[in-house]
């Protein structure tokens, strides 16, 4: 178990670092895919098999496809490394380090390693489904509605100019009411 954990951790951290450090977005995306699969492995290692499957399907199968698609569509370029970017990295790294070093000890303290007889729960489809459709029926429905909302939102945002060519904003010149310099009062 610890060995699996160590390997997975290394994989996850490495791929995560890859996501943030590769300058080419496609490379980042590929690292993310690795990471997501790694997470699925973690789920599996934690005996949440259903979640592991869902993870692969939803993330690698749906979300990542979408992401890569958009990446291609928008033709994202390789990011240039700038000084301000490095400063950002250093600063956020320091703060992140603080976060980990502050919270980490508390995590260890909160959940000390204990021995236990058997796996307490079963992350099986059956068990999950039971809870999901009874106790969590309302959140479940809400989640469904949420996805619905997301679709509507995406649909609205993706609308193009073609909808109404005579819209005033398109036909008229812009900024005719800009205030001249000279300030208030």
């Amino acid at each position: 178990m610890p060995l699996v954990f160590v390997i997975l951790s290394a994989l996850l951290i490495a791929s995560a670092v890859g996501v943030i450090l590769f300058r080419n977005p496609i490379h980042s995306a590929l690292c993310l895919v690795v990471n997501l699969v790694g997470v699925a492995c973690v789920f599996a290692a934690l005996e949440a098999h259903f979640l592991a499957v869902v993870q692969v399907i939803v993330y690698a199968g749906a979300i990542m496809v979408l992401v890569v698609f958009v990446l291609m569509l928008l033709n994202s370029k390789t990011e240039e490394r700038t000084l301000s970017g490095v400063i950002q990295l250093v600063l956020s790294g320091i703060i992140g380090g603080c976060l980990v070093s502050v919270v980490g000890p508390f995590i260890i303290e909160q959940w000390p390693i204990v021995a236990r007889e058997e796996p307490p729960i079963s992350g099986s489809v059956e068990a999950l489904g039971k809870v999901l459709y009874t106790d969590y029926i309302f959140p479940f429905e809400t989640a469904g509605f949420l996805v619905m909302a997301a679709l509507v939102a995406a649909a609205m945002l993706a609308k193009t100019k073609g909808g109404d060519p005579n819209h005033p904003r398109i036909s008229e010149g812009k900024n005719d009411g800009t205030i001249q310099a000279g300030g208030e009062q």
């Binding site: 508390f106 303290e109 106790d135 029926i137 509507v152 609205m156 945002l157 208030e184």
Partner: protein, 498 residues
């Protein structure tokens, strides 16, 4: 399970209505009164909320502990729905411009979805539902912010709101995970009893992360950065929704969680210091930066940040100190006056929508001459925001909040609050200066005549005028008869008996 359905009738009406509006719109493509229909839906929701209100006296939960059924929920839900109605009424005409008209069907559908999300959010009795409600509300809002499809500012606002919102949600989520890990439950009620006697470090961190999520939605420092940009860039009809309804929801949830779930004395010790510093930062930053703004929308955004700070003051005086009711009173008063203020900004900037500085303070010049009643109402709202009579609602709001804070012996915080409040007078009054004191070009000798026709015009449609009038009346009445509201909200506390 099914028996609980009537309890969420308002939510069902809003959610169903949103889908129905969308569906009809697909076929009729905006050639039908979809806004009015949505207002109807919301009214229906309000009616149903009132109808089911007696059921909510029971202090229980519904759907296996997913939703609270208590007067607090009922009241906040009604408030959210009423606020949504007012916002929609105000923005009715506005929606024709800003490029929203093309996607009006989706816009309105999303608007109702956001309201539905807010209703879930405020009623949520477990952390998962809470998170989902928050995300539902936010998701719809992200899109609404970008509803002005061809305005880059709108897209930028949507982008910033989305990314920062999701960012903070992630923190919230991590916080939920920690709390869950520490207590083994996600239910807000069970959490309260399952928390260790004295907070362990990780529980503290979980609470902090949860607070971060709430502070973000409230627009409080140090997580306020999105608020000015998003308020400014979004279509004004969305801005006022965010400034009123969303803030109401966030504060209401925060208030409930912090006074109910984390209400124990030990835990109060823990988070009170954090909220104290957040309140101070919020008040100071909000007020300080607001004085440097030219865009009235942005200024009001910072002002709403500052007001979040005053509300946080009330968080610090839970229970017998009366902070809870004070915050709710403040919330209502704030919603009314800020709605009014943004409504006027909407009316004024409507005429200059093409210009990036459509809500520049110069646009308010001469408003008192060309639109005296609009200017008078704006003055009322601004004075109220500043806490000066005759803006009685704001005054009484401050009265209650400061009162509670001082009663809980936060005198230093109260002093910072009043100093901030004094600073706030400066920027609120600047708008009044523009509306009233700036000389007309004829007086000024024609030197500034270049923008004579450009200033002080406003487009005020009937619904907007009516809503503004309602807000104006409420602003005064809430102050003159505060007891009616205050005593009502007092009965809501504690938010749930257990």
């Amino acid at each position: 399970m099914m028996t609980d359905l009537p309890l969420i009738a308002p939510l069902l009406v809003v959610a169903g209505g949103s889908l129905l509006v969308l569906l009809i719109d697909v076929f009729l493509r905006g050639r039908w009164p979809n806004v009015s229909a949505s207002i109807g839906v919301l009214l229906l929701a309000l009616v149903s909320a009132v109808v089911v209100a007696p059921e909510y006296l029971s202090h229980g939960t519904a759907f296996s502990g997913a939703l609270f059924v208590d007067p607090y929920t009922s009241f906040i839900s009604a408030l959210v729905i009423s606020g949504s109605i007012l916002c929609l009424l105000m923005g009715k005409e506005y929606l024709e411009g800003e490029g929203i008209s093309e996607a009006k069907g989706e816009y309105i559908s999303l608007y109702l979805m956001a309201t539905a999300g807010a209703l879930v959010f405020v009623a949520a009795a477990d952390l998962i539902t809470l998170f989902l409600g928050l995300e539902l509300m936010s998701m719809a809002l992200y899109a609404l912010c970008g509803a002005a499809l061809y305005r880059s500012a709108s897209a930028e606002a949507a982008m910033k709101y989305f990314f920062l919102g999701s960012f903070s949600s992630a923190f919230l989520l991590l916080g939920i995970a920690f709390l869950y890990g520490a207590t083994g439950t996600l239910s807000l009620l069970e959490l309260a009893s399952a928390l260790p006697e004295s907070p362990t470090g990780l529980v503290g961190i979980g609470i902090a992360l949860f607070l971060v999520g709430i502070l973000f939605k409230m627009g409080a420092a140090p997580l306020h950065f999105w608020a000015p940009d998003v308020y400014q860039g979004s279509p004004t009809s969305v801005t006022l929704y965010m400034a009123s309804v969303i803030k109401v929801a966030a504060v209401a949830v925060g208030l409930r969680v912090f006074s109910l779930t984390f209400g124990g004395a030990e835990y109060y010790e823990l988070w009170s210091r954090g909220i104290w510093i957040a309140a101070v930062l919020t008040i100071v930053i909000g007020n300080l930066v607001a004085i440097r703004q030219r865009s009235v929308k942005r200024m009001l955004a910072y002002s709403s940040v500052a007001h979040a700070g005053y509300m946080l003051m009330g968080f610090l005086a839970p229970g017998e100190f009366g902070g809870g009711p004070a915050v709710l009173f403040y919330l209502v008063a704030y919603a009314v006056m800020t709605l009014g203020a943004f409504g006027v900004v909407m009316a004024v900037s409507a005429r200059y929508q093409d210009s990036p500085d459509s809500d520049d303070i110069v646009r308010f010049n001469l408003l008192s001459r060309k639109r005296p009643f609009l200017a008078a109402l704006m003055s009322l709202f601004l004075l109220s925001l500043a806490g000066l009579p005759p803006g009685m609602a704001g005054l009484l709001g401050k009265f209650y909040v400061f009162n509670a804070a001082i009663r809980a012996e936060y005198v230093g915080l109260a002093l910072i609050g009043v100093l901030g409040s004094a600073i706030s007078c400066y920027y609120y009054l600047r708008v009044i200066v523009a509306m009233y004191f700036v000389p007309s070009p004829s007086q000024a000798g024609g030197a500034t005549s270049s923008y004579e026709d450009d200033c002080g015009e406003a487009i005020v449609a009937m619904p907007l005028a009516g809503t503004l009038a309602v807000c104006g009346v409420l602003t005064v009445l809430l102050g003159l008869q505060p007891s009616a509201l205050f005593e009502a909200v007092e009965t809501l506390f504690p938010p749930n008996l257990y």
